[in-house]
């Protein structure tokens, strides 16, 4: 029997569709459920109210990352000074204890940002479905896992049933062909993509990233690309697995081993879109056209190259769009047609689920090495996990950063969002490797410029937004 050619997304979907509910809705099975302190308390309350238990505790892992301070880690939960933050982490610990769930506590060697921990522990496997009450769950798509963010009510649904009610998404192929130039990274690729298709450009779609420039990325880079799929509105991002994927997964604590790993690899090799598979939309970008990128506004689509300038709202014919451009410039304290290279900054943040892996820290350290953070700048390096921190210290990266004047912190979400002590003061301007530049995202009144780790390190030493290619 001839079967219709299928996309990678369709293959993973088909393997997890449990039952058709009608009206295009399906029950989709969830292979891995990640939890953290902010979006889970109300889900556990729901379980208690209905007298339910967790269907598959061993497919679930909890970790506290959003609220946790990135200093004084050895003190554990008791060292969290903010009362509300501490209550959330204590609540998570009570919930994992009451429901018998696996948990990487604050002092565990497995602790870290949930989207760094999942792959690191080998929970993230090709062909798996992975959910978490966090929109950056799309990160795990770098391993060809169908991974996406869910709400708290959905998290309760997964805890109780190990399934979700879903409608199939449309499919979008984004090809990035050619070779990336010097100083151009995965972060610049995804920012360029978002700049091209817009912050709602992929709403309703699952994106599959392909092309030479994607294949050439290491796993950390692929995670960065998939991580920000949600910033284009996508349900998820996917990259077909290859030898790099298999090598990265092999040997991880929760990954299959021995003969089961070989069997898994054989199945994983089938996880690619068939020749002739049809996508609902295809976008092509030439790698050679991508330069180091920097956002200038308060939406990730408000992005240009470091050699570029801010737009002039006066050029925009649509009045709502014109008002929005003006609002963004006012909030950011920038003028129309202002060159981005040279804009002075106050803070540099290197971290977050987007860019806190060892490869990211190496890239930043390569720029920081032998240089000094500008006097006017405070710069933080926040490893994505305890394991990344340990690896960085083994490689001496902490000494490079400290010698240059960077702070070297413990793992957590840190300054990506204003939920822990690391945040911007009103009016402060930050070159940040995180994923969102929304108004107030890094602290009320804070101004965020999203950049790659190398660009962030370059901004730290120059004291302003700057083209990393002039430093390297």
């Amino acid at each position: 029997m001839m079967t219709r050619p299928r996309t990678l997304y369709e293959k993973i979907w088909d393997a997890h569709a449990v039952a058709h509910l009608g009206s295009g809705e399906w029950l989709l099975y969830v292979d891995r459920h990640l939890l953290y302190e902010v979006t889970s308390p109300q889900a556990f309350d729901g379980l208690r109210a209905s007298g339910s238990s967790v269907r598959r505790p061993e497919l679930t892992l909890a970790v506290a990352d959003h609220n946790v301070p990135t200093q004084h880690r050895a003190g554990g939960v008791a060292a969290i000074e903010d009362v509300d933050s501490r209550l959330q982490v204590e609540t998570l610990e009570r919930n994992v204890r009451d429901f018998g769930l696996p948990y990487a506590d604050l002092t565990s060697t497995r602790h870290g940002i949930v989207h760094v921990v999942g792959p690191e522990q080998g929970l993230t496997l090709p062909g798996a479905t992975i959910v978490c009450g966090d929109s950056h769950t799309s990160t795990h798509g770098a391993f060809a896992a169908l991974a996406f963010g869910i709400g708290t009510s959905e998290a309760e649904h997964v805890l109780a049933t190990q399934t979700l009610i879903q409608k199939p998404s449309r499919t979008m192929l984004i090809r990035v062909d050619g070779a990336l130039g010097n100083g151009v990274t995965a972060k610049d690729v995804i920012l360029a993509i978002i700049g091209k298709i817009g912050t709602a450009g992929a709403t309703g779609y699952v994106i599959e990233y392909a092309g030479d420039a994607i294949s050439a990325l290491d796993m950390a880079g692929r995670m960065t690309v998939c991580n920000m799929s949600i910033e284009a509105g996508a349900r998820a991002g996917l990259i077909a697995p290859d030898g790099k994927t298999f090598a990265w997964v092999a040997g991880r604590p929760c990954a299959p081993q021995g003969s089961m790993l070989e069997a898994a690899k054989a199945q994983w090799r089938t996880l690619r879109s068939d020749d002739g598979a049809v996508y609902d939309r295809t976008v092509a970008i030439s790698a050679s056209e991508i330069a180091p990128m920097v956002t200038w506004g308060t939406s990730p689509e408000a992005v240009t190259t470091i050699t570029g300038e801010t737009p002039d709202p006066g050029d925009e014919p649509d009045s709502a769009r014109r008002a929005q451009l003006q609002r963004m410039l006012t909030y950011m304290g920038l003028s129309p047609r202002q060159k981005l290279d040279g804009v002075p900054i106050d803070i540099v943040f290197i971290g977050s689920c987007t860019n806190s892996r060892i490869e990211d820290l190496r890239a930043a350290a390569a720029i920081a090495k032998g240089r000094q953070v500008a006097h006017s700048v405070r710069a933080l390096v926040v490893p994505g996990s305890a394991a990344v921190k340990a690896q960085g210290e083994q490689e001496g990266l902490h000494e490079v950063f400290r010698a240059a004047g960077f702070e070297w912190r413990d793992a957590g979400c840190s300054m990506c969002l204003g939920l822990n002590p690391d945040r911007l003061a009103p009016g402060q301007r930050c070159a940040s490797t995180s994923n969102r530049n929304f108004e107030g995202r890094q602290g009320p009144g804070g101004r965020t410029h999203l950049v790659s780790p190398a660009m962030a390190a370059a901004a730290a030493v120059r004291g302003c937004l700057t083209d990393v290619r002039t430093l390297a």
Partner: protein
Amino acid sequence: MTPFTRLTAVAAPLPIANIDTDMILPAAFLKTVSRRGLGAGLFHTARYDYDKNERPDFVLNQPPWRRAGILVTLENFGCGSSREHAPWALLDFGIRCILAPSFAEIFYNNCFKNGMLPIKLDRATIDHLMAAVSQPGTAELTIDLEANAITAAGISAPISFAVDELRRQRLLYGLDDIGNTLQHGAAIAAHEERVRRETPWLAQTGLEPWRG
């Protein structure tokens, strides 16, 4: 869940595209273990200045929109975070229905789980409604989910809208998703058995309960 059948309420105009979840509810308000009380943080940065005084120019600080039960807004409402705290904040404030040309997907899904109705309408219709509800005398709309229609004094003919039928039924009757899913227990168990057989590495992790 409270059923959603028919809602007559003041609609607040918010003619901004890409309103993100940080704008709907800043992160500082996420430090709660409850679903309730988040209305105080709704649009906090737009509603209040740094000294916590109301900003008189923001629509929800002006009569009659202070008591809005409906929001009329522009494209990609709710983009950003998956935080269900965003719809909880709207609901706690009293807003149960949002009209926009498009929504971010996770936010859209989260609304239905809380007895809230997000309605997608074309931009021209939204512009028409925006103009009507921007006048205090015609700010009130009626959303009739049984008839799939919007009526108001400020618009000449009812505006029809579409919602996925299963979602509509769940809203109309206040149905519980989990209870419904558990009726498919046999299919779920059969799937788990197939995974153990065909892709056993997905059926296990080696993780153990925390012993902290």
